[in-house]
């Protein structure tokens, strides 16, 4: 697998309502959606969350296949959680083999956790897929700005995030290049036991760190050359404003959350 195949957290350009919403609306919306997944107590609730998410994805115009590719990276985590839940949940066993046993509750829990994880990932990746990284961190900065009164450096945090996101592709490219160069010298990144493999990463990591420091120094120089000096008194080229669609989205969110709580109270499966 090439490193570049990872789609998790990438922006998918589009022109939908979801793309156009204010990043703050989307941030709060995503957080509420993620919370709602933990409020849900039954499968009917998940069904409801799933349908709402599916509608949103449909509106956003991001191909489902593209989103699903993001799952690949965390497949291991999902399977691992499901398996652990499957075997470790106490209850009345319906199958046993030596010390391994599966309880009815285990199957229930395993499905429950797997669905929850998949939805968590879909929900949060919808945010990053439909919001440009810069808009996202701008939104975060604005949401956190009240906290700067108690000493939280919200601008600096947001700037750090922007820079980190901006340089992920650059560092991936760099990794790819160094890997190829070392492979051309006979380095082997794929075989051997865990210790050998970890040692095998040194020829990759050392040059990568050197590159990262070089890039960081260049960037710092470029920012200073353009008189960057932190967040105080800084204005924006594109100010953020809530529009009607944001108000409607907020309304839908409240209704959605109420519905999730209501379904949790219902005596359904």
């Amino acid at each position: 697998m090439a490193i570049k195949d990872i789609t998790l957290g990438q922006y998918y350009p589009g022109d939908s309502v979801v793309h156009k919403l204010d990043p703050r609306t989307k941030l709060i919306g995503t957080i509420l959606f993620l919370v709602s997944l933990f409020v849900v107590k039954n499968f009917t609730g998940f069904l409801f969350c799933g349908i709402c998410l599916a509608i949103l994805v449909k509106i956003s115009g991001v191909p489902f296949k593209y989103m699903a590719r993001g799952l690949k990276a965390v497949m291991f985590l999902i399977v691992f959680t499901a398996v652990i839940n499957l075997f470790m949940t106490p209850g009345d066993p319906i199958w046993r083999f030596g010390i391994l046993k599966i309880a009815r509750e285990g199957i229930y829990r395993a499905c429950f956790m797997a669905i929850r994880l998949v939805m968590l990932i879909f929900g949060s990746s919808l945010l990053t897929l439909t919001t440009k990284p810069v808009a996202l961190t701008d939104g975060m900065e604005r949401l956190l700005s009240p906290l700067s009164k108690i000493g939280l450096p919200s601008h600096e945090l947001a700037m750090m995030m922007t820079i980190a996101l901006r340089f992920i592709p650059t560092l991936l490219d760099e990794t790819d290049k160094i890997m190829k160069a070392q492979t051309a010298r006979g380095a082997d990144f794929e075989s051997g036991n865990l210790l050998q493999r970890a040692k095998g990463l040194i020829p990759l990591l050392v040059p990568l760190f050197v590159s990262a420091f070089r890039i960081a120094a260049d960037l710092a120089m470029a920012m200073e050359a353009r008189c960057y000096r932190g967040g105080d008194g800084r204005t924006r080229m594109n100010g953020m404003a809530f529009h009607n669609c944001d108000r409607i989205a907020a309304l839908i969110l409240v209704l959605y959350f109420a519905a999730v709580i209501a379904i949790g109270k219902l005596p359904v499966f």
Binding site: I178, A181, A184, R185, G186, A187, V206, P207, V210, S211
Partner: protein, 282 residues
């Protein structure tokens, strides 16, 4: 060692909607001991081609043969053939990582399972070949060297595998004129000492014309021209159409000819060009 490329094709993300063809139907043969220059516009597929030549990328079509052995086979001979094709990337100094120069140059032979003594022997020979004094520099950290020295050490890191084919991707990128000349002279020297087949990717037509026995021109993933420098650079107009040019002295002679001066245009050497102009003006 002879390198033969047959109907080579490579498509990125094959089968997906954003598939792009990087190479298509590339055919050429470089006999052992020959010096070939590959020229082409940025994005013409040069780097993709290079990575196919030592098996870093697997072709989606066609094959690469080294002395008749398909280098992408899974046999021992194919692995051995790949080892004999050394690839020096652009800015190779970014691959340095060890604590000392000697250890870094030993990296490649060590990976191929030579004993520590053999590795050291090969590394010292390689350092001498690139003009680094092994006694003075062997225990220095590679990060303390100057830019030009770093590049030489990195090239030594590939030469330590004792390749029979040396592929260099713009080895002079980012160097000053003196560093540029030094590296190219070094390549010539290595070629003579070890009787290597050389493939040099370059943006500099003067270097290609002066040093190469053969020039390959890539354009949009196709092999546009393949011949001696004289043959290739006589296609002055076609080269311009694909964003390249003839060597500078030849370009000057073309301009003079357009203005009505009766001169030959197939001259790539500055002194010879000067004599031709003087003769024409007499």
């Amino acid at each position: 060692m002879q390198i033969e490329v047959r109907e080579l094709g490579y498509t990125y993300s094959e089968g997906l909607p954003f598939a792009t063809t990087a190479l298509e139907d590339v055919n050429f043969t470089i006999p052992g001991g020959e010096f070939a220059a590959i020229i082409g516009h940025t994005g013409s597929g040069k780097s993709t081609l290079l990575m196919h030549l030592n098996g870093l990328m697997k072709p989606t079509k066609g094959c690469v043969l080294a002395d008749g052995i398909d280098i992408n086979e899974k046999t021992k001979e194919a692995r051995e053939a790949r080892r004999k094709i050394g690839l020096v990337f652009q800015y190779p100094e970014y691959q340095l990582f060890e604590e000392t120069v000697l250890k870094d140059v030993c990296f490649a032979p060590k990976n191929y399972g030579f004993t520590p003594e053999e590795c050291e022997e090969k590394a010292i020979a390689a350092l001498k070949l690139v003009g680094i004094d092994p006694d003075a520099k062997r225990d220095v950290s590679p990060f303390e060297l100057s830019g030009g020295e770093k590049r030489r050490v990195a090239i030594a890191g590939v030469l330590a595998m004792e390749p029979q084919v040396l592929i260099l991707d713009e080895p002079t990128a980012g160097l000053d004129p003196k560093g540029h000349r030094d590296i190219l002279n070094m390549v010539e020297q290595i070629r003579r000492d070890r009787n290597l087949t050389i493939l040099l990717v370059s943006h500099n037509m003067d270097d290609a014309a002066r040093m190469a026995d053969r020039v390959l021109v890539l354009d949009k993933g196709h092999l546009a021209m393949n011949g001696t420098p004289r043959e290739v650079f006589s296609h002055h107009k076609e080269l311009h159409e694909i964003g390249l040019s003839a060597p500078s002295s030849s370009e000057l002679l073309y301009l003079l000819k357009e203005k009505g001066l009766n001169v030959r245009t197939d001259i790539f050497d500055e002194d010879e060009a000067a004599r031709e102009i003087v003769n024409a003006l007499k």
